[in-house]
């Protein structure tokens, strides 16, 4: 390759094996922006990499280089693989900060509205189909209850026990200093019943079942199974979502009750073996302190958490786009959103009951 008087002379093979070195020499040339002619007289072979190189020479030159002396075969290959400058400039226009902000706002409000529609749909069909199993698979609520509830008993039980243990151990050291050992029962009891039991259970369920709902629905959407249901005139919400919603509504309070009990039991072990309290004193103090209202608050929260987890899981499942990558994205988003929603909801409940 040589450049003389604004003409680039190319020779030999212009193929993927040779183009790299020719391109390097071209880039280092100071005259590359002023090329007026491309002489191909001595070019014996060209492939798409060679044509791409010629296109780059044309694009980078401030002038309009002409191809010269190309053989008919070379010309034909160039015609096949060459792309014009104008065709490449289909890049998206840059948007400014306010346009981006506006776009984000409208897309968020659209997402929120579609989320509300989905929520309404789920509540409507769940209530509608509460006492009829005509529109869902036989045994689907029991199957979902096993997946959501029974299969989660081990992990939720273990974590709640450990949580109760940590809570009791951390507070007992402080209570001991002021001789208020007996209040360990009040502290562990109120924490587990009103906050830790429902919230920890909800977080674990969001991670387990919420992500499973999203991935199930997303897979079905990608593989066009949801469309197939619709073509058979089956409402996917009634067929797939209602059993999950009802099973979750049943299982969550039960899981929370178990988690609360195990947390309190762990606290009792610390009270008996570390603070040397009697088990009876621990239980009596707890029953004297806890009220029915505390129980209702804990359990009612758990039902709301259950609904939020189902709705968010299903929502992201329906929102999936793309292939494996989109699938991973919605599952991650679903878990993050569920956990976030559970914590925010818990804070709102705390605020509400304080007032």
């Amino acid at each position: 390759m040589k450049i003389i008087n604004n003409t680039i002379y190319l020779s030999g093979k212009l193929t993927k094996e040779t183009v790299s070195s020719i391109y390097d020499r071209y880039r280092q040339s100071s005259e590359k922006n002023a090329i007026d002619n491309i002489d191909l007289k001595e070019v014996t072979k060209i492939d798409s990499a060679g044509v791409a190189f010629l296109d780059i020479i044309k694009n980078e030159s401030k002038l309009t280089p002409e191809l010269q002396n190309a053989s008919p075969e070379i010309k034909e290959t160039i015609n096949t693989f060459s792309i014009q400058k104008a065709e490449k400039s289909s890049k998206k226009e840059r948007t400014n900060f306010f346009e981006n902000l506006g776009e984000k706002f409208f897309s968020s409000s659209n997402n929120f509205i579609s989320g509300l529609y989905l929520t309404a749909d789920i509540f409507y069909w769940s209530l509608h189909d509460l006492f009829t199993s005509k529109y869902r698979r036989k045994g689907s609520i029991i199957q979902q209850s096993v997946l959501i509830g029974v299969n989660a008993v081990g992990i939720i039980g273990l974590l709640s026990f450990i949580l109760g243990l940590i809570l009791a151990l951390q507070s007992s050291a402080q209570l001991r200093q002021i001789g208020a050992n007996i209040y360990i029962a009040d502290l562990v009891g109120i924490s587990m019943v009103r906050e830790m039991g429902p919230m920890m259970t909800a977080i674990i369920v969001a991670g387990r079942s919420g992500s499973a709902f999203t991935s199930e629905i997303a897979t079905m959407k990608i593989s066009e199974e949801l469309d197939a249901l619709r073509t058979m005139s089956i409402n996917p919400i009634r067929f797939l979502v209602v059993p999950k919603f009802l099973a979750m509504t049943i299982c969550m309070p039960l899981l929370v009750t178990m988690a609360t009990f195990l947390g309190i039991f762990a606290g009792m072990l610390v009270a008996v073996y570390y603070l040397k309290l009697s088990a009876v004193a621990y239980v009596n103090e707890m029953f004297n302190f806890l009220t029915l209202k505390d129980q209702i608050i804990g359990l009612s929260k758990s039902v709301f958490f259950a609904w939020v987890i189902v709705i968010i899981g299903i929502y992201f499942g329906f929102k999936v786009t793309g292939g494996a990558e989109g699938f991973g994205k919605v599952t991650t988003k679903s878990v993050v959103a569920s956990v976030f929603a559970v914590i925010v909801l818990d804070a709102l409940f705390s605020l509400f009951y304080m007032i």
Binding site: T15, K16, V19, S20, Y23, D47, S48, A49, V51, A52, F53, D55, I56, E73, E76, T77, T80, F81, S82, I83, E87, K88, S90, I222, T321, G322, G323, A324, E325, G326
Partner: protein
Amino acid sequence: MESIIEINDLEVKYGDFTVLEDINLNIPEGQITAILGGSGCGKTTLLKSLLRLQPIAQGSIRIFQTAVDSPEFRSQLTKIGMVFQNGALLNSLSVADNISIPLKQHTALPDKIINQIIDAKLKLVNLEDTGSLLPSELSGGMKKRAAVARAIALDPELLFCDEPSAGLDPITSASLDNLLVKLKQQLEMTIVIVTHELASVRRIADNIVFLHDGRILFQGSYEQIQHSNIDEIKQFFSSN
């Protein structure tokens, strides 16, 4: 004319079931060879055997004078492109990234030239402005064309296409046929296609191999096969 693919006494089995038997075939260089035959006759299996995607029970296959089961064949794969029946694009990568895979893996070309090649190959298959899309955002026909663009990214000497025009509308199918002819003429590419589409075969094939029940019944030109007296071939042509 030299043979680019030489197949001798090939036999392929799925368990105890023999799919291909007694296959002796030489595929000439620089031509388009169409492998025809009814469903289940072993066309795709033959194509997969050629690329070592399907183990062979007996016989030998040599491509570019190299046995496909020899370690040296690996280096020859850069000279071969394959268009799978369903496209087989990597779903997590954009169309442009899919096409860039062979270019980045097997050449030292600068990114600028690679991007230019990608744009050119997409234009060639009429898929301009789809480089940033994911395969799941393409229609079936677009996926197939993107797969063609990926297969020809390295301007291979040998291109295999498994049912390239199946499921495409007649206009797209004809433009894909034209592209294959162009590739043959301009890059001296040897092309082997497996197909059912007689219209496409008539337009582009120089050489036809007819398979039936895992055996070769006929090898020759389109004119010759049309006048064949073999019952299975007559039946195939009359029902198409």
